[in-house]
Amino acid sequence: MATQPVLRGRSADITAAGVPAGRIYVWEIPVRLTHWVNALSIVMLSFTGYYIARPYLAISPQETYSHFFMGYIRFTHFLFGYIFLASLILRTYWAFVGNQWASWRALIPFVTPEGRGLFRQSVEFYFFARREPPVVLGHNALAGFTYAIIVTLYFIQVFTGFALLGLSDPGGFWHTMTGWVFSLVHMQWIRVIHHVVMWLLIAFALQHIYVAFLIDAEESNGLISSILTGYKFIVPERHKHTDLHAPAQAEHGPDNVTAQLTTATATQPSDPRSPSA
């Protein structure tokens, strides 16, 4: 990882403020891939799942051999269930082998004093007690914690989904893997959970898209395009209070740079624009 240049091309220049300007490769390919596979899967699974729960389309009253609509809907639901599961497995793996911004550590910001400080700053920003969001390159601490909840919901949703699928094949793989849950939680409440979690994920998706626009506008760092290209932009103005001065440090690799960034932000006395200052 250290061999990978952080700042690419001409962007590795140092601006007048003494801060390197340019773009940083933050989101690796598996991160971006699973993000969009998850997004597509959630959309497909929500539409098909809602139809399975409440089949609202009227089918023409012909003989059944000419129709298989619910069958295709269920097939699509199960297919994307498997795709979603595969995506979760890949992303979980990458949380352990990917770069620092893909790491599982982002999900639990509380364990470090820096994380707690950044978390507080994020909450202050969203509640209008602070003008600018905290300076981070990856997820902000509040987003990281939100993703911890969302990932938990993902796993609950996948587990309950495959448990319910297993009911149609008693003794099969999924029933063997998941059937025990029905002794703990009644099958009907497993269904209710599966339904409610879908709505929670839809609520999250709305919030996620809104915040992406909001932070993109406030940080001016290309947040939205970063999930397509992988690159985020360093805004020198924002980083002028950090220790990102020496060009040598920029060559040390992403770990070093971000360590500098986050530490600097957490120890930074205050943002001059913050009302709390």
Partner: protein
């Protein structure tokens, strides 16, 4: 005085059948039907016939607790074989409150005699839930509570079979708020082989098949995680339903008596619990295979599932309601749509507030200038 005087339990079935005038042909038809119910290959029919001809009839003690005698009624309506054949020949029913001739002390004596003479060999069938609240005084027979009678009788039994949902899981007596503290047999017995035959009522075909299995193989059948025999509860009603093709097509009954209902389309949207219910109703059916609830035009109510009264969404909804802390009861979709609505309202408010902030206190960054300085 005692029913056992007329019927010698050690008499083999072959002789008993002969004395009852049951033809060999009818007997083989019965054996074939039992092979099918047990989901065994047809080559097992001779083995079953042989076992039934030679095996000693197991003595049965049938206990009634918090019940409606519905399983006894189902038992009396056995068609393969007819009730007299079943009661008199295949089983040796030594104690059954609904149909026994003996009463009072004589009846209790029958039970105690069977327990003594066939220690470790008799079968106990339990019908009805067992109340535990207030030391079990809500079901007392002959001065003894249900729980005491059950524990005493089951202690030396070869196996305990629960007939019906009440004895299997507590059933309707255990539905909220469960004032008598009713529980199923599995909650109070743990050291006796137990087979659950839930259903409201249980299908007597399955009970008969279970007994036949026991006599043929001298063992209890394989069970699932709820202790139910796999031959009867191994697949969902939905997966073998005669209306399944309409489900897969997306053709649903929208209201009772509509065109779709008259055409026999799927009852899923009318609250059918076929997808939630493991049972063989759709294959074995009821009343000599004549019909069954879904065949008659009403959705399955999930009667053979644990806690069916509290969790099956009533008879006409597919999911139970969610009780909110504020006291309201909502469906999963109402709850979820409410959460999304709140989220959307919060986002809209925040977006407006952020827009105002951006106007009043713009972030003044010289991003453009920085880029211009780049070589």
């Amino acid at each position: 005085m005692s029913l056992t005087v007329e019927r010698n339990p050690s008499e083999s079935l072959a002789r008993a059948l002969l004395s009852q005038g049951v033809s060999r042909r009818d007997f083989m038809k019965f054996c074939t039907a039992m092979t099918a119910v047990l989901a065994l290959p047809v080559r097992y029919t001779p083995r079953i016939a042989q076992a039934l001809e030679t095996a000693v009839r197991p003595p049965v003690i049938w206990l009634n607790f918090q019940d409606c005698a519905g399983n006894s009624e189902s038992f009396l309506r056995a068609n393969h074989p007819t009730v007299s054949e079943l009661v008199l020949d295949i089983l040796s029913i030594d104690y059954q409150e609904v149909i026994m001739a003996a009463a009072g002390h004589y009846a209790e004596e029958n039970r105690l005699n069977t327990m003594r003479e066939y220690k470790g060999k008799y079968i106990v069938v339990v019908e009805g839930a067992i109340p535990l609240a207030d030391d079990g005084i809500y079901c007392v027979i002959g001065g003894h509570t249900a729980i005491d009678i059950l524990k005493e009788t089951a202690k030396d039994a070869a196996a305990v079979i629960t007939a019906g949902t009440c004895s299997a899981y507590g059933g309707i007596p255990a539905a909220a708020p469960n004032p008598t503290g009713a529980v199923g047999v599995r909650d109070v017995l743990n050291n006796v082989p137990l087979i659950n035959m839930p259903g409201c009522p249980m299908n007597v075909q399955n009970l008969t098949a279970l007994i036949v299995h026991y006599m043929t193989f001298n063992s209890l059948p394989a069970v699932d995680h709820e202790g139910r025999p796999l031959f009867a509860y191994g697949s969902r009603i939905h997966d073998d339903c005669e209306r399944r093709a309409h489900f897969d097509a997306g053709q649903f009954v929208e209201e009772w008596g509509d065109e779709a209902h008259r055409k026999g389309w799927c009852l899923y949207k009318m609250g059918c619990k076929g997808p939630q219910t493991a049972h063989n109703c759709s294959m074995v059916r009821w009343n000599d295979g004549m019909s069954w609830p879904v065949g008659a035009g009403h959705g399955c109510v999930g009667c053979s599932e644990p806690h069916f009264w509290d969790t099956m969404g009533g008879l006409y909804e597919r999911l139970p309601h969610v009780q909110l802390p504020v006291g309201a009861e909502v469906t999963a979709s109402q709850l979820g749509a409410g959460i999304v609505g709140l989220a959307a309202a919060g986002i809209a408010t925040h977006a407006v507030a952020s827009g105002i902030r951006a106007k009043l206190d713009p972030i003044d960054r010289e991003v453009t200038k920085v880029e211009e300085k780049m070589p």
